[in-house]
């Protein structure tokens, strides 16, 4: 495999932008039709009311809030990982960062949509926003739902800018390589970027500040999402461990999402020269670490509840351990620990395929984990006469499926219109050829290994 030169890097990474295959249109049409079905389901729900969903007393939070927590968790893949690797100056981050940052932005957008879908009258969502209004009513700043608004808004704005700023030099590159309308559009997006020493210095300083600022924001976002639950006196919710437990779970599912996205891009955009096995190996190790951390949190939480033997909590505990939710609980344990642990711990199995299998399992497991946090507790509150069951209805299932299609569609469209790997960062760091990639024990020196 030859080492890509700077010119070849530009050609390879601009190819998807400048040439379009028929398969792209088929994929967009397929995903778009699923998204349209999801939108149709949402309008149907608005028209018919919430009665057509499975949401009913006492389970008022179900699939939609599960999806909200899940997608906000997936959003931790990008900006957080990218920021940490950027600050650590990890040489291997360069082809990974943009793939990751895009996931954050789209997952946040989709996640933030779910509280609105969950509203009976979504057109009044702006009532959540603090602004002086004729009703003289202001949001209650003591409510975790208002904290969500501030945290998600800050994270979304920060992540969008964190994604956009390093794209400016690449937009300038596309501007110079294209003609006609495309040149005009990318010219506008490039904001007149030229690449003077001053511009490079300012951009790199700004990215450093953004990286420092975005890490605590990312941690706060999922901590605050966990507060939606832990601030409520509901069995198995009112727990101090929920903040770090949710953050760990979010990073866990985020890395899994990133690995699946990177493997797909590598395959379909022929990025084998840029996304090397060592990238998957390193992310696989991070995934293994998060799997162990997640298992530790689950064990610590479950042991404390079991030891406390408080009746209302034990009701939820047993219904998930050996009751009606047990199949989901044990599937979650298998997907999040039993399956990924050997695959990621044994070096021979930690291949690209192995990482994708483990990550796919983790994505399923983490969605189930979110569901198991939301539904069993609401169905088994303190007084047994108020217990209830929940089963999802077609409209909820369709909307859920369509958000996965929407995420894929947005990602495909992004990869079509923007270089999915930061070209200038790749060139600046030097691109390690597979021959120069050191063994897994010395990958921290990757950046330096390249002459």
């Amino acid at each position: 495999m030859s080492e890509p030169t700077a010119l070849r890097i530009s050609d390879d990474l601009l190819r998807p932008l400048l040439r379009t295959s028929w398969r792209f249109y088929v994929l967009v049409a397929f995903l778009g039709s699923i998204v349209l079905m999801g939108l149709g389901s949402w309008f149907y729900q608005m028209y018919r009311g919430f009665g057509i969903t499975g949401i009913n007393n006492p389970v008022y939070w179900a699939f939609y809030i599960t999806n909200f927590v899940f997608w906000i968790g997936i959003s931790h893949a990008g900006t957080l990982i990218s920021a940490i690797l950027r600050l650590a100056n990890a040489g291997w981050r360069r082809p990974v960062t943009r793939c990751a940052e895009v996931i954050t932005v789209f997952a946040l957008m989709i996640g933030a949509l779910f509280p609105i879908i969950h509203l009976g009258r979504p057109w009044l969502f702006f009532w959540l926003i603090p602004y002086p209004n004729h009703r003289g009513i202001w949001p209650n700043f003591r409510s975790p739902l208002v904290w969500d608004f501030f945290a998600i808004t800050t994270y979304l704005v920060g992540s969008l800018l964190f994604l956009f700023l390093p794209m400016i030099p690449d937009f300038a590159l596309v501007r110079d390589k294209s003609t006609g309308l495309r040149r005009k559009i990318y010219g506008a997006l490039a904001l007149g970027w030229r690449g003077t020493t001053k511009q490079w210095n300012r951009l790199e300083t700004a990215m450093q500040i953004m990286a420092i600022a975005i890490i605590p924001v990312a941690v706060s976002v999922h901590t605050i999402v966990s507060f939606d639950f832990s601030m409520a006196p509901v069995p198995m919710w009112h727990s101090t461990v929920f903040g770090p437990y949710f953050v760990a779970g979010a990073i866990f599912s985020g890395i899994a999402g990133l690995i699946v996205a990177m493997a797909t891009l590598r395959k379909f955009l022929h990025l084998e020269d840029y996304l090397h096995p060592v990238h998957f190996q390193n992310l696989g190790k991070l995934l293994l670490l998060m799997s162990l951390l997640w298992t530790y949190f689950v064990f610590a939480e479950r042991l404390t509840i079991w030891y406390g033997n408080e009746p209302s909590e034990m009701a939820v505990f047993w219904v998930t351990q050996r009751g009606s939710f047990a199949p989901l609980f044990w599937t979650m344990v298998i997907c999040n620990f039993v399956l990924p642990f050997p695959i990621l711990a044994i070096k021979k199995l930690r291949t690209i395929g192995g990482c994708v299998v483990a990550s796919s399992g983790v994505l399923v497991g983490m969605w189930l984990e979110r569901f198991l946090i939301v539904v069993p507790s609401l169905g088994h509150k303190y007084l047994p006469y108020s217990w209830g069951v929940y089963s999802p209805r077609p409209v909820e299932i369709m909307i859920t499926i369509s958000t996965f299609a929407a995420m894929t569609l947005l990602y495909v469209l992004f990869a079509k219109f923007v270089p999915i790997i930061s070209i200038w960062e790749l060139k600046a760091g030097g691109h390690p050829s597979p021959a120069l990639i050191p063994p897994a024990t010395a990958e921290h020196a990757l950046g330096e290994a390249y002459p």
């Binding site: 700077a6 003289g136 800018l161 700023l165 030099p169 500040i209 600022a213 200038w424």
Partner: protein, 170 residues
């Protein structure tokens, strides 16, 4: 706009050109270097490095903190809810909003400073050559002084690989 510049295939020859321009008496602020990537291994990339952006970001964070303190405080006192003898202004919960707006202020101040100091979006005609995207490094002087052009051209051609170009007739 008038300009005289040359394109170089690598950082070393661009560095020689920058040194040559300095030796020819061209002021540091008049030398323009443009590249398709940051060239941190070369001395010329470190000019214009000094910046107030860290301080401005901190200032933005401070403004955000003030807003994040004022907004919940004002809301809680202007619309006092029944809190069962708990304090009306709830600082523990307000800390979350204060933190988020502090970070948002810092982030926005950073981006605005970047746009202003890097002159983005670009205003007016600027020295540029699209060949920069083909890995060439541009070193040049915009609007050179009368009579200084021959000396600038000599300095730019100090490297044999240089390709001299002009904009207008300087």
């Amino acid at each position: 706009m008038k300009a005289v510049y040359a394109l170089y295939p690598d950082g070393a020859s661009a560095q020689r050109a920058v040194d040559g321009l300095r030796a020819a008496g061209v002021a540091e602020r008049d030398i323009t270097v443009i590249s398709a990537m940051p060239m941190e291994d070369y001395e010329f990339s470190h000019k214009d490095k000094a910046t107030w952006i860290w301080w401005i970001a901190s200032g933005g964070g401070l403004v955000g903190l003030c807003l994040g303190t004022w907004l919940p405080w004002m809301t809680e006192t202007a619309w006092p809810l029944q809190t069962g003898n708990m304090p009306i202004v709830s600082w523990w919960t307000n800390l979350i909003v204060m933190f988020e707006l502090t970070m948002l202020g810092g982030i926005l101040a950073t981006v605005i400073t970047l746009l202003v100091t890097a002159r983005l979006p670009g205003r007016g005609p600027e020295l540029y050559d699209p060949e920069v995207t083909d890995e060439k490094i541009l070193v040049g002087v915009k609007n050179p002084r009368e009579g200084s052009v021959p000396e600038i051209e000599r300095a730019l051609l100090s490297s044999p690989a240089a390709r001299l170009k002009t904009i207008g007739t300087p």
